[in-house]
Symmetry: C2
Subunit: 505 residues, 2 copies
């Protein structure tokens, strides 16, 4: 089992849920889709890497609300009318008001508590003033405090309750809340710009496509909307970019990693080999098989590449460790040196005890329902090849939840195939922003679809950098530029919107 359990296990717990049956046998090969990297980056280890947190003062400007949300928008069965309390936060400090139809910047929550986003997303707070915009952050159903069925335990209990947890329902939630808020504020004419990153970026672009009457535009940061149903060829996926990132950082580092896997296997196959590896990598508990180690290392490289940000640039840090080890060292000692450089000096690595975060648990369900992202590792990467096997995924989801995923539903509902052909003369006002060092950019829209559905990408950017809170001391020029470009484009949408408002209403 080439699984990512090891990654999951060492993640710090956000919530204390120990669902043993969910932990065992997980086929979670899908790196976290998260703007911030969640606990992985938010841990204690690299506090300096973090974007500035929202100051307490700014946090105080947000008021928390709960909306009585419909559990099931798409049916009229008795159960469909069940409601739950969905959290959203509003900051009207800079809002120009409804009398001038001042805009609304709406952050669409993704697979985590909205608190996490509030602390790390900067695009809204940093631009609210110049847009005279209302800021709203909406939490995604089944995360944070927006849990149906009274408790997380009940909500995740079985397919009967978790089955309402999917992206189509989530964007319908957002539509209801945005319509409600506009009505409450008598701001029916205020244009809404939706913003999201990663999975939330997909939601933002899909929201604009499905609810153009609610949002006039979307900023979809690092949204891999083409990573479904084999739209992108398996050999051009996530791990190809991880590989490219490492190879560009250091050819020797790349070569070392590339040959490490067979060396691990070789040692593991020997009598007492797992014990040797456990010692060498200071594992927190004895390795049961070589995959525990390999999956862990693979996830470290993937995360380093996905969140390869200034000022520290994790890929450079890992390669610094690997390349910096004394030349006399063997390959695996170099690999360990890379790990230590990245993770810092710790009492142990790999097989760290811990529980799953709500994101881990939630996202795993989502990959077993509508978010079936087929990530392959092809044989031209620095990893051991591992082609995606849909049948295995389906089987494992069925075993876990009792229901199978729907791998083709995302492209049926949201499209994706031949996207330029489909949307060139349809849709408008979407920015697909990407950093090309982000492995998920392989599933992103990297080419303009039309004059107003545009791709904004940076050669050196990683995952969701443009929407994170700016760290003015370390932001590179190209990132500052990218953000300016995005603001400029959105301003253009608003100018046209107000002209239309004047002309048509």
């Amino acid at each position: 089992m080439n699984s990512f359990i090891s990654l999951l296990l060492f993640l710090l717990p956000i919530i204390s849920l120990f669902i043993t049956t969910l932990v065992s046998g997980s086929p979670l090969k899908i790196p976290r889709l998260s703007p911030t990297g969640g606990t992985f980056v938010h841990g204690n280890y690299f506090a300096n890497d973090q974007p500035k947190a929202l100051s307490a003062l700014d946090q105080n400007d947000f008021e928390t609300f709960y909306y009585t949300q419909t559990l099931d928008h798409f049916n009229f069965r008795p159960d469909s009318f069940t409601t739950f309390q969905q959290r959203y936060l509003i900051n009207s400090k800079y809002w120009g008001g409804s009398n001038v139809s001042a805009p609304i910047l709406a952050y669409l929550g993704a697979e985590e508590s909205i608190d996490t986003d509030l602390a790390s997303i900067g695009f809204l707070s940093e631009n609210a003033n110049q847009f005279q915009a209302l800021q709203i952050f909406i939490e995604h159903r089944y995360y944070g405090k927006s849990i149906p069925f009274g408790s997380r335990e009940e909500a995740l209990k079985n397919a009967g309750t978790i089955g309402y947890f999917n992206s189509a329902q989530a964007i319908a939630d957002y539509a209801e809340i945005l319509i409600h808020v506009k009505k409450q504020l008598h701001a029916e004419d205020s244009p809404v710009i939706v913003i999201g990153g990663s999975y939330g970026g997909m939601l933002a672009s899909w929201f604009r496509l499905k609810y153009p009457h609610v949002a006039v535009g979307a900023l979809a940061s690092s949204a891999p909307i083409l990573y479904f149903d084999n739209i992108i060829p398996p050999e051009k996926g996530y791990y190809s970019i991880v590989t490219k990132d490492f190879q560009e950082a250091s050819e020797t580092c790349y070569q070392t990693i590339k040959k490490s896997w067979s060396e691990i296997d070789e040692i593991a196959s020997k009598h007492g080999g797992l014990s040797i590896l456990s010692k060498k990598f200071h594992t927190c508990s004895l390795l049961n098989n070589s995959s525990e180690l390999k999956d862990y290392l693979q996830s470290v490289y993937a995360q380093a590449a996905q969140y390869d940000r200034p000022p520290r640039y994790p890929v450079t840090v890992v390669c610094g460790g690997i390349d910096g080890a004394s030349s006399g060292n063997d390959t695996l000692s170099k690999i360990f040196a890379g790990l230590v450089a990245y993770r810092g000096n710790r009492s142990c690595y790999v097989n760290q005890p811990g529980s799953l975060s709500e994101t881990d648990i939630g996202w795993r369900w989502q990959t077993c329902s509508d978010m079936v992202i087929p990530i392959s590792i092809s044989n031209d990467t620095m990893f051991q090849p591992d082609p995606y096997d849909l049948e295995v995924h389906i089987k494992s989801c069925k075993a876990k939840y009792g229901v199978p995923p729907r791998p083709r539903w995302a492209t049926t509902y949201f499209g994706g195939h031949d996207i330029k052909l489909a949307l060139h003369r349809f849709a408008s006002n979407i920015i697909f922003s990407n950093g090309l060092r982000d492995p998920y950019s392989s599933g992103g829209v990297l080419e303009d679809i039309s004059r107003t559905v545009v791709a904004v990408h940076t050669k050196n950017g990683s995952h969701c950098m443009d929407i994170l809170r700016a760290n003015h001391t370390t932001d590179p020029g190209w990132l500052v530029e990218q953000r300016k470009t995005e603001v400029h484009i959105i301003k253009g949408w608003l100018v046209k919107y107000y002209a239309d408002l004047h002309a048509f209403k």
Copy 2:
């Protein structure tokens, strides 16, 4: 109770379902949304009014298929994975084939068996040759032979089973089937034009909005997509146009009808009055109250206006009867003469025994779920005022089905408010066609939204005339012209589509 039971009762049964609880206390104030008028027009009485039926030869060119359809596209609960057999028919006689990416004309079924549409809809068969198009007719879930849960009885049993019956699910069905058919035929690049009338016209326009990656354009005939959530003012609704139609046909006829209601009430209020009225109108059974008669007459005028087609023009027929009665006759004798002129000589009228058609039963549910169309009768019509009362409607739906309708869901999901502002720079390739004599045109899009989302209407047209099978001997010039315009517009979409296909793929 101002109800339309009388109308329902005299409709010929399509299916033999006697759901007594559903029949009693119906608040069905919503005239049938149907391209053809269903049994009302399809009955024996006005065979000459009917568009030419599809010849047996043409019918033979259609092959019937069943698709294993997902009951619930939007959830992943165990029940959601229930499937049913959904019927569709394909005619490939004129199709240019997948190697030239020849187009597909897809008729989206509405609230009736697809057999009914196949026999009456002409737009596809009459244009397939010049478009070299494949024709496909898809039946709407819960109608005809596309019934979930094994039987109509089970499917309609309670809110638990009927609750999956709504427009969002229906268009998701269409998306799945069209994607499936294109794949089967290796026709992924064949552009699909969706066509629908009345409720089906709404579905066609919504399909283009929600699934632009599946259909490149939509012809939405007589689709009252603005008849939701008070987008149109109550005083400019359905019955205002019925009134205008009658007044334009004959001022005296209009006046006679206008004063008839109070005369009916006056007689009814007298001792033995209902018996007098029953005799005067040759009712099939003794009237229980004056509403039975008034609702019946109201529905006759509504239907006459909605399907006011050549060669007979029912409004003219009714007014001919009313105005033609000897001048010595009292008002109600004139009204009866209008009725006889319209319905022909029959043994009795009003309170006709009979059962509800599947359309009556299905559409009544739909008006109690997502299709909440608030039809008021304002006091400047020729009818007695009858303002729409949403609360009464909700109560009655709850009593009938155990679940309330969602009156705001249609505009939340599909939009409608400020439609030009929302769609002027979004969306493309939709024709909203209307006949201005059609009472439902009051809820239609009568103004161009953009260069490619356009309104095509005719002053003298009624409901869905443009897509019905042409009756060449009696089609007026303006109708021939309207159809030509629509074909011309669709050809323009296809030219652009093929240019894009060449450029982007």
